[in-house]
């Protein structure tokens, strides 16, 4: 059995990165982006508490509904669309092969610089 999937991440310069992601270790999309050094902060470490891994789901994959915590956090994020999710809450799973996401913009005001 194949134990990796392919996902694509569109960064803020609209460059599409096709990433190979193992499914046999517990990963989420925030961690995947960070491990490929894509510009995702993931400040809170994946607890759905900071919204710094805000991304848009572009493909039609069925994802579990956002939890109360995730909805709360998205309420505090900016540039939120109907397809907004926190990357840390998208758990990598074999059903997500071909998943396409795009990193949400960050406002210069709030960037950690």
């Amino acid at each position: 059995m194949k134990n990796s999937i392919t996902v694509s991440v569109t960064d803020r310069e609209k460059i599409i990165h096709t990433l190979e992601v193992p499914t046999d270790i517990t990963l989420n999309m925030m961690e995947v982006c960070k491990s490929y050094e894509l510009p995702v902060e993931g400040l809170c470490g994946g607890m759905a508490l900071c919204a710094s891994c805000h991304m848009y789901v572009l493909s039609n994959h069925e994802l579990p509904e956002p939890s109360e915590d995730e909805e709360n956090m998205l309420d505090q994020a900016f540039f939120v669309n109907k397809n907004s999710r926190l990357g840390c809450q998208i758990k990598i799973h074999s059903d997500l092969d071909g998943l396409e996401v795009e990193l949400a913009p960050v406002s210069p005001e709030n960037e950690n610089q």
Binding site: M47, D75, Q76
Partner: protein
């Protein structure tokens, strides 16, 4: 004048525990933090989350860990300057440091330990192009004195507890309170949500949902706010104040301008003693970086422990330091 041995910037878990390790060496500490309470991220972001990797605690709530640390360091009587951000750092002629906070408080010490975590927590600013022009001219990110808004028209933005709670408070003070939220449902504490909906029914709060503020307009001061609402053309809304309440996010802030070597928003340190490129300044916890760095509270405790040994030698180069176990010597406060 506040003067101490080690000035710790950041009162998170690592800054707090460092007080203990410094205290064992009879070094006094003073902590400064932009938040109004100790605990850093633990109290600000996740007080009710259990942490599982603190040795000796199979599980401990972040808020409880903060309380225990405060208890543990109490014998050493640390000083606190809370609700103020360390803004400026000056090296004085005698090689000691002066730190000035954003409120003008001056703090003096021979050693500075930066335990700033992810940086200082600042209000999240909505991505509205000209928002900075109207800061303090109608745009407030923090409500200090609600009386400021008496008989004024106020637009509060956000869907969380602070947006709800302030809307409720301002409903009795301001001439007109409008709460704008991107969705139809609110996620704050249930009684706050109910109270807001009741005030809305009674005409005390004007609710605009599925909408957000996207532009600000005014001659010198804020006069109008451009609103984007589902199913409507964008329109202007008259208001004296715009108060966006979208929580806090950490920013490295002024520490980035102190001449420290920075890499990916973190201070580069020598793992021998967690010293920075400036003699007398150390960085411990999430704010530092070195090969193999892990952002764990556990690792920050270790870093603080080694750091104070080095700080002692830096402050007292001629004194011998003998290492004592707490099991042998106990904990003697000041």
């Amino acid at each position: 004048m506040i003067s101490t041995d080690i000035l710790i910037i950041g009162a998170g878990p690592v800054g707090l525990f460092t007080v203990f390790e410094a205290g064992l060496l009879k070094l006094k500490c003073h902590l400064v933090d932009s938040l109004g309470q100790g605990g850093g991220q633990l109290t600000e972001i996740y007080p009710k989350k259990p942490i599982y990797d603190i040795p000796g605690y199979p599980s401990i709530l972040a808020g409880d860990l903060t309380d225990r640390l405060m208890e543990q360091i109490a014998p050493f009587k640390p000083g606190f300057t809370l609700g103020e951000r360390a803004e400026k750092l000056e090296k004085l002629d005698d090689n000691t440091f002066k730190i000035i906070t954003n409120k003008g408080t001056e703090l003096f010490a021979p050693v500075v330990a930066i335990a700033g975590g992810l940086g200082s927590f600042e209000p999240r600013k909505p991505p509205i192009e000209n928002i900075e022009i109207f800061e303090d001219k109608g745009v407030d990110y923090i409500i200090k004195d609600p009386e400021k808004y008496r008989n004024k028209r106020v637009l509060v933005a956000g869907g969380g507890d602070s947006a709800l709670d302030w809307s409720i408070i301002l409903a009795d003070i301001a001439k007109q309170v409008t709460l704008i939220h991107r969705r139809t449902s609110f996620r704050g504490a249930l009684d706050s949500v109910e109270k807001v909906l009741e005030l809305a029914r009674n005409g005390k709060i004007n609710l605009i949902t599925e909408a957000q503020a996207i532009g600000l307009n005014g001659n010198k001061v804020l006069e109008k706010i451009l609103i984007e609402q589902d199913g409507k053309e964008n329109y202007y809304f008259d208001s004296d104040y715009f108060i966006p309440l979208f929580g806090l996010a950490p920013k490295l802030g002024p520490i980035g301008d102190w001449g420290l070597e920075i890499e990916n928003n973190a201070i580069v340190v020598n793992t021998l003693d967690y010293s920075s490129n400036i003699p007398g300044i150390y960085a411990i916890g999430d704010i530092n970086t070195y090969p193999g760095k892990l952002k764990l509270i556990l690792c920050g405790f270790h870093e603080g422990t080694l750091m104070v040994q080095s700080a002692f030698k830096y402050i007292y180069p001629d004194q011998k330091l003998s290492f004592k176990y707490t099991t042998v010597a106990g904990v003697t406060g000041f």
